[in-house]
């Protein structure tokens, strides 16, 4: 303690600069409660996370302008997953934190791909920042107790060229539904940066 204090009072010895570049957007840790939120969906209906307690919830950060999102929608990656897990009580919510998009953009995207889930309007980026959503798509899975069970990529193939991708989200949902620990519970998400409001 004392030495570090001494180090601090001699800043004039330090020529140059010290930059602290801590990332602003840090996701809540896996195993911790998922931050609650209320957002409007593309029909103008309110959706509150805490009201879904008891169900497994998947959050998908989306931006219709992002080529990674477009690739997965053309391949129906999210739609097929959401449909196949819906019967098992899994709720899928897409969240759009793109600052220049609104409920109408979300409605159009939902219609274009006939989505079985709502797209929530987070154009002010509050919920995105709360979750530390960085790219689109960035995926979060919340267990029935409301704890964060998975955060990261949709699958193992950022460039979409691997042919055989591991679906991390399907893997995590299968483990959760079997009451097993999710592993890996964290992967590196990939995609375009979330276009947050400044």
């Amino acid at each position: 303690m004392k030495t570090s204090f001494v180090k601090w009072i001699f800043p004039f010895l330090i020529i140059g600069s010290m930059a602290c570049l801590a990332a602003e957007a840090t996701s809540p840790a896996v195993g911790q409660p998922a931050p609650d939120f209320s957002l409007m969906d593309h029909h103008g209906r309110g959706v509150t996370l805490s009201a879904l307690k008891g169900k497994i919830v998947v959050l998908e950060w989306i931006n219709p302008d992002c080529p990674f999102v477009q690739r997965h929608y053309q391949a129906e990656t999210m739609k097929k997953l959401a449909e196949s897990y819906r019967d098992k009580g899994v709720v899928w919510l897409a969240v759009n934190s793109t600052h220049y998009m609104n409920a109408e953009n979300n409605r159009q995207w939902s219609e274009k791909y006939q989505l079985p889930y709502p797209i929530l309007d987070d154009r002010d980026g509050k919920v995105g920042r709360m979750y530390g959503a960085r790219p689109t798509p960035h995926m979060f899975i919340i267990d029935a107790k409301g704890l964060l069970a998975y955060t990261g990529a949709i699958d193992s193939d950022p460039s979409g060229s691997a042919g055989q991708a591991i679906s991390y989200v399907a893997q995590a949902l299968d483990l959760l539904l079997a009451n097993k620990g999710v592993s890996p519970a964290e992967t590196k998400p990939y995609g375009c940066s979330v276009k947050y409001a400044k």
């Binding site: 140059g16 600069s17 801590a22 990332a23 840090t26 964290e186 992967t187 940066s193």
Partner: protein, 305 residues
């Protein structure tokens, strides 16, 4: 249809290239329509291929103003640029280090690493010892990338270069290769390297996170420094900071193994970049071993001189 069109264009470009060969063929241009805000050009540092004599090939990415493409670790968003050079069978093609990238913010706290304006990637090409009956060879650069400004657009392109085969060759494109090499990092500890490096820290075998310090003693004072963690898909790098004390820089960061992910067996590669008072960027590639290493009793940390 589009594929056919690009094949025709390739053939035409090849014809032009070979027609120009009687003088000197120095550069191959993009083949096909440019897409995705980047154009590729391919160069060799020789005027002809001599059997058994290695030469260098450079691929220049010309990036549209305000757009960027990505380094091998794109940062928190983006996609690593994928460039390849292919030569005829029997030739060995080895990529050199990626040029030193820039750091940019892609939104609040969303860091990216990559290139703006232009980036030149280099390859070492070794021809076979004999090239009987071959009068010319064709080198092809293939690229796939994600270009971003406010939005991101995936792109791909090709460039091709035809070189004659001879018994002698002259150097070519010297300035271009010289400038490109100045933008490549050097491995720490190489003779004449700009910096001595010392690394401290590890992730305990039983734990998931560790604090690291990479200290660089530059051979000349630097105005400032930057650093870039290499690709590490199973790690989260946080709490980074850089200190400058005359000729010494210290990079501090925490590395945490993502939940349920293995510790990478390979060292984490980091790129330390000193910017000298003239603005010249000098990159030193440092390997950081993540798991504890046996250390000599008389030294703290490891000195890679």
């Amino acid at each position: 249809m589009h594929r056919l069109a690009s094949l025709v264009l390739m053939a035409v470009a090849g014809w032009f290239a070979s027609a120009a060969m009687n003088s000197i063929t120095l550069a191959g241009q993009s083949v096909g329509a440019p897409s995705g805000h980047v154009r590729l050009e391919i160069f060799a540092d020789v005027t002809a291929v001599v059997p058994g004599q290695p030469f260098s090939v450079g691929v220049r990415c010309r990036i549209d103003p305000d757009w960027h493409i990505y380094w091998k670790n794109p940062g928190e968003a983006g996609l690593a640029t994928d460039l390849r050079v292919t030569a005829p069978p029997g030739f060995a093609v080895a990529a050199e280090a990626w040029p030193i990238p820039e750091r940019f913010e892609q939104g609040p706290g969303i860091v990216g690493y990559g290139y703006t304006e232009e980036a030149v990637f280099l390859w070492r090409v070794t021809p076979p010892r004999t090239l009987r009956g071959v009068s010319r060879i064709r080198l092809i650069a293939d690229g796939r990338w994600l270009a971003c400004r406010k939005l991101c657009v995936p792109g791909q392109g090709q460039a091709a270069l035809t070189l004659g085969v001879g018994t002698t060759s002259k150097p070519a494109n010297g300035e271009l290769f010289k400038a490109a090499r100045r933008r490549l990092p050097v491995p720490a500890g190489e003779p004449g390297t700009a910096a001595r490096v010392r690394v401290e820290g590890s992730i305990p075998v039983s734990g998931s996170a560790g604090r690291f310090m990479v200290e660089l003693f530059w051979s000349k004072p630097m105005a400032r420094m930057e650093w870039f963690p290499g690709p590490a898909p199973t790690l989260e790098i946080t709490d980074e900071g850089v200190e400058t004390e005359f000729r010494t820089n210290r990079i501090r960061f925490s590395a945490r193994r993502l939940a349920g992910q293995p510790l990478p067996a390979a060292p984490l590669e980091i790129l330390a970049v000193g910017v000298d008072p003239s603005g010249q960027r000098i990159g030193v590639a440092v390997e950081v071993r993540l798991i504890p290493q046996p250390i000599k009793p008389e030294s703290k940390g490891r000195v890679l001189d």
